[in-house]
């Protein structure tokens, strides 16, 4: 099953995504969380913490040098993903993402 979470910026989209992902994983599902927002803060709402969230973003933005990792979707999930609590796998989907204050 694929679930997309949409809305205006600041509507609480990321909180909704992160909390649902964690609960689905707690209920025993294998969960892949994709962060496709240009202000990718899903890691925070999933509970990986600001430090790991910013580290992932830096890695994702540096991937021009490593195009071989993007040949397959699963390779990308492996190369750029991180493990969040309850076993959720998190991947930042946009290379051009940046952090907007607020």
């Amino acid at each position: 099953m694929k679930i997309a979470v949409a809305g205006k910026g600041g509507s609480g989209k990321t909180t909704v995504s992160g909390t649902i992902a964690r609960e689905l994983a707690r209920a025993g599902h294998s969960v892949l969380a994709l962060d496709a927002d240009t202000n990718p803060m899903l890691g925070i709402s999933l509970g990986v913490g600001p430090e790991e969230t910013y580290r992932m973003l830096a890695v994702r933005q540096g991937t021009d040098a490593m195009p071989e990792h993007e040949h397959t979707v699963e390779g990308m999930i492996e190369a750029f993903g991180t493990d969040a609590p309850d076993g959720v796998r998190l991947v930042i989907a946009l290379r051009e993402a940046h952090v907007d204050p607020g």
Binding site: K2, I3, K8, T19, V31, A33, L34, L94
Partner: protein, 135 residues
């Protein structure tokens, strides 16, 4: 590939949840989900974006669920229901625990899974997770 990641990724034996880019066009660009959760705050701008996003998702054949977020009272609920009442609406009340999680960079479910807003989202997740997983 990044724009198509959500569309291309395999969802057999797992649930894929995608926090889309804010706005409406992203629904068309990112490929269709089986379920599209549209989050609306009780403000004119937020409800407007949510209405258009819900329309785009429904046109793609997705099941649309509206999360009425940060609802403080009946007037908030009615404001969202007036525009989005054609869809299933799940009310998530204004919640100090979620605000605190945002401030501290923590997951709301770790701060207080029993807080009213968090509980509403957990209930929605349990309902979604109860749907059969693709074999």
């Amino acid at each position: 590939m990044p724009q198509q990641l959500f569309g291309d990724v395999e969802d057999k034996q797992r649930i894929v949840i995608c926090d889309l880019e804010a706005g409406v066009g992203t629904i068309v660009r990112n490929g269709k989900g089986d379920v599209v959760i549209v989050v609306a705050e009780p403000t004119v701008k937020s409800i407007d974006v949510a209405s258009r996003a819900a329309g785009a998702a429904a046109a793609q054949g997705a099941e649309v669920i509206v999360v009425a977020n940060r609802v403080r009272d009946e007037a908030d609920r009615e404001a969202i229901g007036a525009q989005l009442g054609d869809y299933e609406v799940v009310v998530v009340p204004e919640d100090a625990a979620i605000a605190r999680a945002d401030e501290e960079g923590l997951a709301p479910i770790d701060v207080d899974p029993g807080a009213p807003g968090v509980k509403a989202l957990i209930a929605l997740a349990d309902r979604l997770g109860g749907q059969p997983v693709k074999a």
